[in-house]
Amino acid sequence: MTDIIRRNNVNVVGSGTQPMLLAHGFGCDQNMWRHIVGAFSDDFKIVLFDYVGSGKSDLGAYDARRYSTLDGYADDVLDICHAMDLHDTIYVGHSVSSMVGILAANREPDRFERLILIGPSPRYINDAPYVGGFERADIEGLLETMEKNYIGWANFLGPVVMQNPDRPELTEELTASFCSTDPVIARRFAEATFLADNRDDLAELKVPSLILQCSEDLIAPQSVGEYVHASLPQSTFQQMKATGHCPHLSHPEETIELMRAYLRSPVAA
């Protein structure tokens, strides 16, 4: 158990008993939830973590094969559920973690009471007539931009960090600058995320879910959110005023309010 806790940098806050598992998206870590945690800490046992390869997880535990698809990330989620003995969990997944949560819940539905999916997309690349919003060349463009930004400093700082295990502040600095500390891992996570196709997994979900759809979300466009809602049994669709792709960072109040409303409401049939 302690292995998983350390590996995924699991942190628990709150005085409630029912677990609320917060899963960050690609490019970030558990710090993303900083504006949300306080609002639910009285009523829930909030479990925060970093995927292996992100944030302050144990990079030594990174396995290129395991994390080459989203199933590997779903393994992380279930590992944590087992290690912490989580049941009736409220799972909140941002962006790619929406699909990770669905994969985990399809494998062990009893662990989860409800899923809250922020900006979900089962496939980012267009596949006519399905519109995901991107072409493959766009994803190449993202990988190139990531590479440029890593080459700017991480490539030079990275080796310094590795050679100075006694100077954790170097890692701290990297983590604070970008949530993914290793450019190779970040690239693989990007590929696992943006090249995935989980459309067939949606219909299998037996756990009720809430879809939080931002306005003008480039990453998960309106039509994709509606597609997810149409495909997921027992799902509730909630249009947000918030724009962009990270409402829990940019519009925490609205995000909290909609989450609370959903958690108070009876489960959709």
């Binding site: 931009t145 930004n149 700017g152 480039l218 990453i219 960072l249």
Partner: protein, 392 residues
Amino acid sequence: MDALIDQIPCGFVSFGDDGLIQHVNARLLDVLGYKREEVEGRHVETLMNVGSRIFFQTHLFPLIAMKGNAEEIFLLLKSSQGDEIGFLLNAARHVRDGKTVNDCALMRVQERRKFEDALVRAKKVAEAAQEELKETNDRYEEQAIELELQQEELLRQRQIADDANQAKSKFLAVMSHELRTPLNAIAGYVQLIEMGVHGPVTEDQLVALDRIHRSQLHLLRLINDVLNLARIEAGRVDYKIRSIALADVVATVMPMVEPQLAAKGVTSLALLDGAGLVRADREKLEQIVLNLLTNAAKFTQRGGTVTVRVRKDCGIPDRTCLDVEDTGIGIPEELQAGIFEPFVQVDTDNRKEGSGLGLAISRDLARGMGADLIVKSVPNKGSTFTVILPAD
């Protein structure tokens, strides 16, 4: 103030957490080719190419929102003409007029980008080369492991074969010994009956007893051959190597086969000019020569010749050759290689008396004392068996 910001030598853009652009300076509008009213109020993402937009949403915006600033971020912006222009961005988050705003300074990177692009390309080439090297390495390693496994298997098979051969030799040695005991008893009792110890014997019975005796001797010879071969193969033969005169060896052996040759009407010749000394086990060399002469006698028809010849200069340094040459039936070329294997006889249709072990034993004995035995033969013309001995 706005005029000052418009004139600074870098782009400036300010946006709220909703992503909408609140301010943009003239310099940035100029570089990108937009009018102010085309940009203000639009989402900041729309200034970027798609890759940079995703990066903005997944990395940059969370970074600014969480940390309050960002430095040296590379982004590709899109001009009104559709060109992609590289910028380095520094951002800081402020509260202005009660609202959170994100201010960004943008420095165009053109020359620097060329170097960076070259660096990225070089890195990719290096990574690909490294990957290829690794794959090649892995392949070689796999092959090496496979070879090692094959070698192990070969060694194992060889061990099995050696063990089986040893077991066979041991079995033959034991069995031959066990068979000789009752054969000796048969010979003994035949002699007693012949001598009339058990009562009078008729002429017919004597003829029958003689046949029994000859058959017993033949069987005993076969068994001795088998026993000898088994002993040689089991490495249980001692060689007493000494300096011996070849002429003496021939002189000892020839009289043993001369009656047989004479009875068959075969001429014998001994050409011993210059026969010198060799290093050999005399008894075993005599056994070899006797065996070769017996064979020659067996396979040579009436009117033929068997010649024993010693050649001091036989084309191999420090070696002396002893030929036993006949004018017999010869050995087909394809059978010559197998003639020294145990239980091989050339004339299988017309099987001659013998175990088929004589030549195998002879060659094993020759090799056991540092000599060798070879054959040259032309079918229907004759064969020459040559013992190659170390000269002394």
